[in-house]
Amino acid sequence: MPWNALNWYLQRITGAALLILLIAHFWVEHFASEPLLHGKLTYEAIRARITTPLWQGIDIAFLLVALYHGLNGLRNIVLDFSFIPREMARAVTAALIGIGLVWAWWGIEAFSNLS
């Protein structure tokens, strides 16, 4: 699949995934959390949930999807403005990839400190 087409396609896929993940996130965090409903919201209660592989998988997927969608969206804005020179657009792309990798690593690494 051509690179430009792949980016366009993934932007739409991640957009749809974000919609589902965001609603699920808000629902679980603010409305459906058992400890929250019973007035027992503690660090331990939250840790118990996010140390399970299922929730870690969901949260990491959420992080990666949000990072790709947000940073690629930012790149698209830069590409929309033709007065921005190509070299600068390439530098911005490289910087956004770097930011994305560091942020992804930072977020995933946070889970390893929970046990």
């Binding site: 051509p2 366009w8 033709s82």
Partner: protein, 240 residues
């Protein structure tokens, strides 16, 4: 007769001299183009605008009327809702004088997509026919009537930020050629349409182009069709 206040842009070679308002009397069925002629004949013979056919066929009189790109000859003053009409040159194009713009940037992009027919089999002596129910007829329905007026070019939000972007009309033209089974210049067009900063990927599906097209061409649909097709370029090469 109804009296209108027609506020027109003045200026030349990209230097704006603001707007000038003229009192013009028009009959019920008269158009904005008639108002522009009244201004030129009764108030200021130097007032400049372009027109040719006066019946919505040539696209020459496209202008921004009350903020929306339209054909002046197809826009009745009475349907604009009010006695004050503002006429500006089409956005995203350089002003030559007053309402007249240069279509050079529009046709520069138009030429980039190889708009002319390039026969797939130039030596063939067989008559190439397109049956009524064919894929070409189905996909091109309602998209073949472009009069290159530039209204879509002026309305496009992406075009306002990007001189490189092809614009809706050129992309629609490329789509028509790409789906034509008799045409062979697939690679040339695909290479332009697939460009990161100029091609179809810049479209934000704002639908401004579709909204203003005086011929009712669903330009956004053409662009999104190409975006989906470019996911599998082979589908464009194999178009028989």
């Amino acid at each position: 007769m109804i009296r209108y206040q027609v506020r027109v842009a003045r200026g030349e070679q990209g230097i704006s001299r603001g707007h000038q308002t003229f009192e013009v009397e028009l009959e019920d069925r008269m158009t904005v183009l008639d108002a522009l002629f009244r201004i030129q004949r009764e108030h200021d013979p130097e007032f400049t605008f372009r027109c040719a056919c006066r019946v919505g066929m040539c696209g020459t009189c496209a202008a921004s009327i009350n903020g929306i790109p339209r054909l002046a000859c197809r826009t009745r003053a009475s349907v604009l809702g009010g006695k004050r009409i503002t006429v500006d040159p089409l956005p995203n194009l350089p002003v030559i004088r007053d309402i007249a713009v240069s279509m050079q940037p529009f046709f520069d992009q138009w030429k980039r997509v190889t708009p002319g027919f390039r026969p797939r089999a130039p030596e063939s002596t067989e008559l190439a026919t397109i049956p009524e129910g064919s894929r070409y007829m189905r996909l091109s329905k309602g998209k073949r009537d472009c009069i290159t007026c530039g209204a879509c070019f002026g309305a496009c939000g992406v075009k306002a930020a990007s001189a490189e972007y092809l614009g809706p009309a050129a992309i629609n033209r490329a789509m028509l050629r790409l789906i034509d089974p008799r045409d062979g210049a697939v690679e040339e067009r695909v290479s332009v349409l697939d460009q990161e900063r100029a091609g179809v990927w810049r479209c934000h599906t704002q639908f401004n182009c579709t909204e203003v097209c005086p011929k009712g061409i669903t330009l956004t649909e053409s662009i999104t069709w190409l975006q989906r097709s470019l996911l599998r370029k082979s589908s464009l090469r194999n178009k028989a």
